[in-house]
């Protein structure tokens, strides 16, 4: 287990270094001229040069990367061009908001999806299974903003049951905040349902076909006990891994949803930085999103290993 942990941690660190290089590479090398890209084609050459000097983009790329990466190691993510404050001061509240939305979405989505997956798996091949599976994959493939627009129209505008923006007023209590988050969370639930239910379903089907389930039935256990003790216990660990990986998507991948519901999460912040050509804030935001994903998948792997004795007790592989 210790060897597995160390190996996994080492890989995550290597990936992190490469990620920072890729993010920095895209943001610096592609445009050729950052100042021009930021200020647009009509700015004077002097102002472009001045901005390039201020940003330090007139120096060799490797020097720039070394300086930027050195800053990252000291916890310095750079300074936002448009707002003139450290990027982290803008990113941290946005990150908290994103986690809040992810939490509400999970509380609704995970129990529903697991239930759906178990039902589909137990009724494998029948109409219930087919309808759940087709509905699930169709919703999962739907761009979030399409699902969100339909929900906004139905619940926000036609019935007027729920607020159409996700941002509760300043200082609102947790319950009010949750109410404002309900529509975007429902949108995400519909998107994620298919992914999570599909994995649970596959796990249930595999467990049902296994020898230990057969044995359990043959030794006369009632079927609800077989399902609870044998089928679910084997079907759920992969589901947990998939659920955890989805956190990575929920924190950062939600640009369209956060824009649609005007929710100040990290996706909307990255979107705004891109709109305003605020490259330092954009690169910092993208990097933070990547780090969240890496940390979350690391936790998911460890959780999966801890739940799976074949990995927990086995070798580093």
């Amino acid at each position: 287990m210790i060897r597995f942990l160390l190996k996994r941690l080492g890989l995550a660190l290597v990936t992190l270094v490469l990620l920072s290089a890729i993010v920095f590479g895209i943001s610096t090398i592609l445009p050729g001229n950052v100042g021009r890209a930021v200020l647009g084609p009509f700015a004077t050459q002097e102002s472009v040069d001045a901005l390039n000097e201020e940003l330090g983009t007139d120096r060799p790329v490797l020097t720039q990367y070394a300086e930027w990466a050195g800053g990252l190691l000291r916890g310095d993510l750079g300074v936002s061009l448009t707002k003139q404050v450290p990027a982290w001061d803008l990113l941290s509240p946005a990150l908290v908001n994103s986690f809040k939305l992810a939490l509400v979405a999970f509380l609704i989505c995970v129990p529903l999806s697991i239930l759906g997956g178990v039902i589909a798996g137990l009724r494998y091949g029948r109409l219930t299974d087919k309808s759940l599976t087709i509905a699930g994959i169709s919703l999962a493939a739907m761009p979030e903003f399409v699902t969100g627009i339909v929900l906004i129209l139905v619940f926000g505008i036609w019935f007027r049951w729920l607020p159409v923006t996700a941002q509760a007023e300043e200082g609102a209590n947790a319950l009010t905040q949750a109410k404002y988050l309900l529509l975007p969370a429902l949108t995400l639930t519909l998107v994620l349902f298919g992914y999570i239910a599909r994995i649970t379903r596959a796990g249930v089907i595999e467990a049902l076909e296994s020898d230990y389930t057969r044995t359990a039935y043959l030794k006369g256990l009632p079927s609800n006990v077989v399902v609870r003790r044998h089928v679910l216990r084997n079907a759920l660990p992969p589901t947990i891994a998939v659920v955890a990986v989805q956190v990575g998507y929920l924190v950062g991948g939600l640009v369209a949803v956060e824009l649609l519901f005007n929710y100040q999460g990290i996706g909307l912040l990255v979107y705004e930085a891109a709109r305003q050509k605020d490259l330092p804030l954009l690169t910092a935001g993208v990097l933070v999103i990547g780090v969240v994903y890496l940390v979350v998948t690391l936790i998911a792997d460890i959780l999966y290993a801890a739940l799976n004795p074949r990995i927990r007790l086995g070798s580093a592989e």
Binding site: T15, L19, A141, G267, A274, V286, G290
Partner: protein, 292 residues
Amino acid sequence: MSVAASPAPAPTGGEARAARTERLRLLLRAPTVVGGVLVLAFWVFCAVFPGLVARHDPIFDNQFPTSLPPEWAFPFGTDTNGRDILSRVLAGSRSILVIAPAATLIGTVLGTTLGLVTGYFRGVVDDGVSRLVDAVLALPLIVTAILIVTAVGSSGRWVVTLTIGLIFAPIISRTVRAAVLAETELDYVEAARLRGERGGYIMFSEILPNVFPLVVVEFTVRLGYAIFAVASLTFIGFGVPPPSPDWAAQINQYWTLIDPYWWMTLFPALAIASLVIAANLVSDGVREVYER
């Protein structure tokens, strides 16, 4: 479903053809696949002959009174620029039906090549590329796309196509690599090596035909994601620019007016939904038939 088209290790020409016919027969027997194909065919027809299906010009402003709700003459209403929304929806499938397959094709070609090389040579090349792929996959597609589009400094059809194709390449390479790793264990690869064939020949003439069904499945699955990605990028304003009647571009232009002008957003959104569901029914059918 009963009879399987068993993929023999080295099918002769006749067997391969029989397997293809069998797959097609299985595909066309599933009602969901047929439904999906019909919807896709309808949108492809609209994309090729927009003039035949759209009664009014989809782009010129002020042809009609602005912001009319749906009525007999304008079943989907008109937008704030005085255009018939039904005509715009019918003419709006073209951009996405060009960009999404083109991006997927670029991604599939690059990704398959990358997967063949890393799976065949293994070692340092494989380790290096695998770590790079890990790093790219740590970012949601839409975030990487925003970063690239912003850094390039211009959006539009070409940039979006290339960006999505490039992001797909590592994802596809990972799937192909896994299959290639399994193939290189087989005798025919060893035999080709002993014959003294070159790596390039073994990869593309020996291994590629054997992993090709997987590439086809990957293409259809990715096509669904590409539609998703193009629509999302256009919705947030980084994709197809107005005044294109592209569905997501229409939504980008009008969603802030959704209350009370819901028809300007709802109908393009439903069009996207129909395309996405159709593409998924088909790709799911293809996967089921090939992966048996």
